[in-house]
């Protein structure tokens, strides 16, 4: 029963809260959509922390998503022992980058009184969860090795079963505790998105790659 709650009900609830909540916030309070950058108050640690964190976590997240959506391609990418070894290495490096980056960001928030003054409770919760998530991810990577291979036979079928509304929690219920914590924290973070600054993820300004440099807006030609 508990397993169904944790690995079937909770993921659905978390996804629903994350998606509906973010949409609702976007439609009702777009003003609150911002990265809330604190670079203006502290620049030196911010560079190392933020750069390491983002450049570590973004590829890592992308690889996880690719594992869920295109498992065959991912499997082919580590089809030989050499390739598997390389992808393990790459994953660990990215994970360590993210962990060190988040560590620096947490340290910075704890030590600078200016940054502390603009840090809210939800900031502390989200940052701690992110740190824990990456930490457990690295434990999986180092203790239960060759995750690139077992990932697509455990997490992937479980996620696929959730995606096609045919839940099959048995793919993950037998896994060790560290795995379960990693899965659950992931969904918890997704659920927290609309209540935290994490919403800035969905506003990544990719359209800057092609938009016109100068923007001119006519008031009277606009349909009000």
């Amino acid at each position: 029963m508990l397993e169904i709650m944790l690995f079937v009900v909770f993921p659905y609830v978390a996804l629903a809260i994350g998606i509906v909540g973010t949409l609702y916030r976007y439609l009702t309070n777009q003003y609150s959509f911002t990265s809330l950058s604190s670079q203006f108050l502290e620049n030196d640690l911010q560079f190392w922390g933020s750069t390491l964190w983002h450049y570590g976590i973004l590829p890592t997240t992308a690889i996880h998503l690719a594992g869920f959506t295109i498992p065959k391609v991912m499997a082919a990418l580590h089809g030989t022992p050499d390739l598997l070894y390389l992808s393990e290495l790459a994953g660990k490096i990215l994970g360590i980058m993210a962990l060190v980056g988040m560590g620096i960001l947490l340290y910075r928030r704890l030590t600078s009184s200016k940054i502390r003054a603009i840090t809210s409770t939800i900031d502390w919760i989200v940052l701690s969860l992110l740190f824990a998530q990456v930490f457990f991810g690295l434990i999986l990577a180092f203790v239960y090795r060759w995750g690139a291979a077992w990932f697509i036979h455990t997490a992937t079928p479980w996620m696929d079963s959730l995606a096609f509304f045919d839940p099959a929690p048995q793919f993950v219920t037998a896994l060790p505790l560290a795995h379960k914590i990693h899965f659950l924290t992931g969904f918890l973070l997704f659920a927290l998105m609309p209540f935290s600054r994490l919403v800035h993820i969905v506003t990544f300004p990719v359209s800057y790659l092609w938009r016109r440099f100068q923007l001119v807006i006519w008031t009277r030609r606009r349909v009000v």
Partner: protein, 500 residues
Amino acid sequence: MKIRSQVSMVFHLDKCIGCHTCSIACKNIWTDRPGAEYMWWNNVETKPGVGFPSQWEDQEKYHGGWEMKEGKKGPVIHLKLQNRPQALANLFSNPAMPTMDDYYEPWTYNYNDLFNSPLGNDQPTARPISRVDGQPIDIESGPNWDDDLGGSNIYAAKDPLLENMNPDDKMRLFSIEQLFYFYMPRICNHCLNAACVGACPSGAIYKRAEDGVVLINQDKCRGWRMCVSACPYKKTYYNWSTGKSEKCILCYPRLETGQAPACFHSCVGRIRYLGVLLYDADQIEDALKAPDDQLVERQRQMILDPHDPQVIAAAKESGVPDGVVTAAQNSPVYRYVKEWKLALPLHPEYRTLPMLFYVPPLLPVLNSTQENGTQRVETELFTSLEKARVPVRYMSRTLAAGNDDLVIKAYRKMIAVRIYKRHETVGDVTAEESAAALAKAEMTAEEAEAIYTLTSIPTYQERFVIPPYSREGDIEEVYDPQQRKAETGFGRRQAPQRGL
């Protein structure tokens, strides 16, 4: 011809007394909020000086403005800060971001200490405390920290414009009887090729087509901070509390109700003029690609004569309302910028086509003492210009991208107007001297009279010619800006609140 109208500005530096009333008027209306205390949408700097934020003119430090380089098909304009992929790569930490240390840490005083301190032999003091974290601070800088050349050997000496200046001129700036300074009030230039607009990854910054005011859409801004670095004038500011960038809005709620912007309205020296300029948007690209010394000329070319029937017809075709054309015909800005060529743009070499123009300061008054002890206005043009303390070179680096000729021409006219009026009102200058001065400046007596009138005795209606307006969105009620004090100043009804 694609004609657009721009509400533009002229600041007459010869009249600025450096009282900072404009700054206070602006601060009280728009930036008296948490996160915005350090912002001065309008500030007044002493020049030479480092300015605000410190050394904003040093584009090697902040990477502001546009640069021109040779491409395969002729010159290409690009942002000094970034290309498109770079903007996304640097989102997480902007490498050229000015931090609070480059401005100053806003503070208040712990006034409670004055009331609550125990009885004793000493006067209680109110310690300064930071408005960011409430901790006691030692105040180390502030707005106008180098006002009136205070600490000039530390601050003014670091003025980026003094680099590469000839040592004699530089020496003069710091020797007691020869030093000069002037005040430079600065607001957003509402550029035609604004670097902040070009640099915003979210596309939140835009130019209002009707009047050319550059605004940041507060709902679309995501706080990526690229505009702060990209604006070479450092006139976009990051609100550390709300996580949004903000800038001068040219008091558009006031303009839309027929009032001059607060800084214009409150100006004690009456140095500020506001009016419409009609320009040809098709010429923007060519004007941007002119060599440095021709930038000002090309910008003037873009600005069109609103009395020319062809221009009026083209304006109608481009959808510029008749009322706006009439306002352009009465515009004091047009007269200073195009007709008289007295007003020059600030740092045209940043290639943003700024639409705020400055009449260079002619200081100090050019008098010579007579044998009998009376003073007489200097009439020898060349000598008086050389005797003027303001080095032409410094002014041309500030207002003409290094083109001395433009500054000299403006100065000659200003000197000629003085000599002409001196002859007329005091009479100690002969008619010949007056005529010679006018001839040297290549101007007529009528022009001198017109310059005198608009410079010295203009009425409120002559200084501010506000065109007919429709309100932003056409759906909002008119609010007294005073009522919006605690709001963002961007037409929002709710007080700005930090995102979750």
